[in-house]
Symmetry: C2
Subunit: 282 residues, 2 copies
């Protein structure tokens, strides 16, 4: 698997890179970003936090706006940030180019419906293809945590809940907790997965947490002044599911914060500290 | 003077705001951002760091990408970030809409030449109108530091060197140190100020530092892998000027860093710590 370097930038003593590669899962050229802390070199592998971004984002938003790189450099943990959908010539988009479906809105599912099913295989891309690729090319251990924001918070929770052997811990900011009951989720899932809503449940964090057989530690932060809180995010469904299955979820509602990266930046160090414990960092 | 609130976002326990207002100096609607740390309230005024951004930026780049808000909240210092030029209907732009002149490229000068002289009065806007406005509307002391990046580093140095009574300290990342000898500066100054290069010297940090009668502490960081280093930035001219006039400049070249916000983020806490001393923060 061949990588093409797009950018290389020093940050906090480590290096931020962007790469593109031809992906088998999504059958298009995918771009991702990786931050390698100063501790990472040929002799020293470091663990990794995968970050899944929200609607309209690319690999760039978290790296530029979260303020996470400073603590990643201190802790000695890598960050990998994929794009939020397949892109490029021939990849279909929402017919109205809406922000909440199609390009920039892959929802971390494997689409089954035409015309989406050829490229929109973000679940497999993030779960399997991307980790194999970065672990082949960079000094990374197989200790992985996963985190995300909004649509990416949904993605992180779903990937972790379905694959607890693959990740040591999961965290999310403002996740779409119950997409099968939310307008964003209904629009995406009916198009990507078809009209049978039974097929959607495998991508619903609240359903998965309620039925979890094996658990990894989970942390969720939600701002109380988030415009999308009641209609789209529905954290009460996740909290109820965790109570029902005794899932180790720590849920924190933060007074006055909204859905923006200022919220993420304000609490990202709490998330990295949380993952640090489970990644067994010193 | 009336302010219109555009956004209000909680960050690190304080508040990030964007406002617009009708400016007398630039005769157009100007937007700026202000971060008020949690310590600021009606009973407690806080000092302020003005941040001047570089080419193509607005009030948003520094607030979103620098990672400065965390330490500003810890220190109890406000940050004010103006736009980089006048904007809006009737404000002239470069005939080719080039990134390095016109909109997004006001160079912090008072233009004297048509058609620029009506709106492109960014020197007076940043020096006088904006501080009066924010000190009227927000709980700010009259202790001010000033900092900036690239074109904004040039602006910060020029404003501080010409007005040492107005600022307690100045810092810059990758500033345009000697614009009278650099392509960006020559293009901007010949258009804004006319062809007589004697008129440009009042906006040249190296000339001003060489001839400074009164000094405030200055800190400059420059990345060694900055694409613009030799042709546009010319820090050696500033270092030579400081040696010539015994100006209290601390210049730090940082190996491997480029011109991006990843460089700023990597060292912004050193700049805020530097200003903290001179703002007499605890």
């Amino acid at each position: 698997m061949k990588l093409t370097q797009i950018s290389k930038t020093k940050a906090f003593g480590g290096w931020h890179y962007q790469y593109s590669h031809q992906a088998n899962t999504t059958q298009c050229t995918m771009r991702f970003a990786i931050y390698l802390p100063p501790q990472a070199d040929e002799k020293c592998k470091v663990p990794v936090v995968y970050w899944l971004s929200g609607l309209t984002c690319t690999d760039e938003n978290f790296m530029q706006k979260s303020g996470a790189l400073k603590m990643a450099a201190e802790l000695g943990v890598a960050i990998v940030a994929p794009d939020t959908s397949p892109r490029g010539e021939g990849v279909p988009d929402d017919e109205n180019a809406d922000y909440d479906f199609g390009l920039g809105a892959g929802f971390y599912v494997n689409a089954t419906q035409p015309p989406w099913q050829k490229n929109y295989q973000m679940y497999d891309y993030v779960l399997t293809e991307l980790p194999a690729l970065v672990e082949q090319h960079f000094p990374l251990t197989d200790k992985r945590a996963i985190a995300g924001h909004s649509m990416g918070g949904h993605g992180a929770l779903v990937l972790a809940l379905r694959n607890p052997e693959k990740f040591v811990s999961v965290s999310a900011f403002s996740p779409i907790c119950n997409p099968v009951n939310a307008p964003w989720g209904k629009k995406a899932f009916s198009n990507y997965l078809g009209e049978n809503s039974e097929d959607w449940l495998q991508y619903d964090a609240s359903y998965l947490m309620r039925n979890a057989k094996q658990a990894i530690p989970a942390l969720v932060h939600q701002g109380s002044d988030d415009n999308f809180l009641a209609e789209q995010l529905m954290p009460a469904a996740l909290v109820n599911a965790a109570e029902s299955s005794c899932y180790p979820l720590h849920f924190a509602q933060e007074d006055g914060y909204d859905h923006s990266y200022y919220f993420i930046a304000s609490f990202i160090e709490q998330h990295l500290s949380f993952h640090k414990q489970h990644l067994q960092l010193p």
